[in-house]
């Protein structure tokens, strides 16, 4: 039995200890906001927060998050008051709307989770730090707008 907290709700699942968190969320809990992109932690589409830190859920077994707090894109806006410090999690999502960032949008759950965790630990990053810290793939090429939004959030 795997037990962890997803967006403030405790979940107990009768699944294998090595089932990746991604597939527990998607196929067992029906929470489809977290996306499958590559399965090998290369693209970041599956990024969630574990205790506020961005992790790639496609290679994170449920056993590794036993008893821990998971935040997914569905719970990000509500997580601001909880374990996630930083610029206000809803603020990142609002910036994504203000800057009209998503195109196909498929990578953006992961991108937003990566950026919100990144900004929580580094509220005023340099361009080089953005380059090193945000490594998610966006096939539509939203990077220029993502960078612009990160700068705006840093200055807010």
């Amino acid at each position: 039995m795997a037990t962890f907290i997803v967006n403030g709700v405790e979940q107990s699942l009768d699944v294998e200890a090595d089932m990746p968190l991604l597939w527990a969320l998607r196929d067992e809990l029906g929470m489809t906001g977290t996306k499958f992109g590559c399965g090998i932690a290369s693209c970041g589409a599956c990024t969630v927060h574990v205790n506020g830190n961005a992790v790639r859920s496609c290679v994170t077994p449920v056993a590794a998050v036993e008893g821990q707090e998971i935040t997914t894109i569905e719970g990000l806006a509500q997580a601001a008051a909880g374990s996630n410090p930083g610029p206000g999690q809803g603020a990142v999502q609002q910036a994504w709307i203000d800057h009209q960032i998503p195109q196909c949008g498929y990578c953006q759950s992961g991108m937003i989770m990566a950026v919100s965790s990144f900004l929580a630990s580094n509220p005023n990053p340099t361009d080089a730090e953005i380059d090193a810290g945000i490594t998610n793939v966006c096939r539509c090429g939203s990077y220029p707008r993502v960078r612009k939004a990160i700068r705006a959030l840093a200055n807010a």
Binding site: D27, T32, F36, G37, G39, A45, V137, C140, S142
Partner: protein, 738 residues
Amino acid sequence: MKMNRRRFLLAGTAAGGALLIGYAATRPSRHRRANADLVQGDERFVTSFIKIAPNNQITLYIPHSEMGQGIHTALAMMAADELDANWEEVNIEQAPAIDLFANGDLVKGFAGEFGVPNFLMGLVNVSAQAVAEIGNLQITGGSSSVRYTGEHAMRVAGAAAREMLLETAAERWDVELSELSTELGHVQHNASGSSASYGELVADAALREPPEQPRLKERAQFNIMGKAISRNDIPAKVDGSALYGLDAHSEDMLYAAIRLAPVFGSKLVAVDPGAALAQRGVERIVELEDSVAVVADNYWRAKRALALVSTEWEQTENDAISSADIDVRFSQELANSDGSEDKEVGDAERALEEAADVIEASYSVPYLAHAPMEPMNCTVHIKGDTADMWTSTQDALGMRGRVASQAGLPEEAVRFHQTYCGGGFGRRLPFNWNVIDHATLIAKQFDVPVKTIFSREDDMQQDYYRPAVKNNFKAAFDEDNNVLVWHSRFTGPIQVPGAAHIPYGIANQSIRVVDGDTHVPIAAWRSVDHSQQTFFIESFIDEIAHRAGKNPYQLRRELLQEHPRHRAVLEVAAEAAGYGQNLPQGHALGLAVQESFGSVVAEVAEVSMGVDNQPIVHKVTCAIDCGWAVNPDTVEAQIKSGIIFGLSAALYGEITIDNGRVRQGNFPDYEMVRMATSPEIDVHIIESGEELGGLGEPATPPIAAAVTNAIYILTGQRVRDLPIKNHDFTRSNPVAGV
């Protein structure tokens, strides 16, 4: 009857100069059928695509797939503006995948451009399915939605609906039509002060026939078009609620992981399930002609069990083929075949013989995968004599027809649940059937929904690829270094006619295509043939300039005398990029210009060589003449998107063949531009007022040559094959004085 409904009226030119053509004017109007089939309560379709409720809420049905290009918003803007709707009261809906909402205007648009393109032509013969009839498609591709469906259907539908509402008010109030005006979803009679909302008029308006020639607005009259309006799909894409095909979910759903024949065209000979069936959650192993699938109650369980299955595949004549073999075959074909004519001007062969100087160069580009972020998937639930399906697609009607044919059901018995598309780029167009076919054949064995997912590796290795192409050039000069001949021989096929043609005023041109068929399946890839040909053309014209001792920018301008739009974008981009000005030490500018899908684009890349002797693209300056911009913010987004997509291919992209199969598997083998390698991009939209051009694709073709032309200046090395990462630039010899 059917033909009549789909007939297009070419209504000619209105007084205002707007071209009137489209579904809104077909008779009998499809809105009657929409009201009969789709409406409950007091709402009414007043023309195709437009439904109005008594409370004045207006619903616009968009017959295209939203895959990030902002098409739902852009097309709604076009209809709403002509309708004089209040944008605050406009709701945007994906049109259902039923033939009532076909978007065959697109095909007619292409037909006017260069004949029905090959990638659509085959649909005519696909099957007895009604969906396969040309003109009855629901395709999103070819950078066509705004310029064809938008111009020829949505605007016309909006204008026709407005006229029907006006006529209704005139009749109700017994006044002259000319005394009425419309604003923000209301008809007004200024003389009497009467006003009625569209919602109050719609019940009667819907009984009228749409006018045959509704009058479209002049640009000065636009209230919504031309504005940077926020896209309607974005809020759902930032909170996880946007649904893609992969997100279809139900409690009783099963999941299929699949292994397809690694060599294209091979067949399954034998399967040893090993311990797969004993694994937790595994329901069944499904053997198909060219594949085997494990079906389980969770995708991860299915995938893990599939790894335990052993498979034996039929041998094929292609089992030993490699990319090197394909390159040799292309070279032999180019050497031995005269090919067929693509374009001939003057007498290139004779001019070559008489020339003072001749240069030759051979270019090539590899196969490319589409690699959309959402892996390929399709969920099918067959329930006896009906079925439900979910998939992300650029062709909802076509995919519905495909599932129907594979399931042995009539098309109408299949209900298509449209979702957002996690990237398309051509991978989700017609003929990319594999995931659809396999998902249907697997689901036929179950009475619950089965979701078939291609892993990233499956998608990379079972794509329909951007064709590899080899192109041999010759150019000839007279004693004064004037270029006299453009001689091009390339491997086909030609997917989009004209991509190998040049805008340059060269007196003698011979452009011919030879057979480039291999066992590797191919399809349209963002910008189709332009992605290869623009790299070739804009590189070789640069070679010509350098050989002639001319500045590449000035030579292009000289040879583009007959193409003012090309010259204009080139000049705007060059000036904005600081071409000819001082650059930071070690930086150089390369440029390229190309017309595709009705838009003319120039790009200038500012490049330096990094410590690893690979190029760093610092900035790209782009000027585009797309006629005019319906939504400037999405235009800018599409340009940046197209450039980054093309840059990924130029720097890193290659699909290579080993032992008949694709070598690359996942993103590390097929790298793409990420944040750290994404350049600053400066976009200049030129509103020439010409007809609307496409936007999804035209920014992709020029970037490769813009970058490699800069690399030539920096290193003296001419990159004649992609990707750039395969080149060794350690021995640089910068070109002086450019």
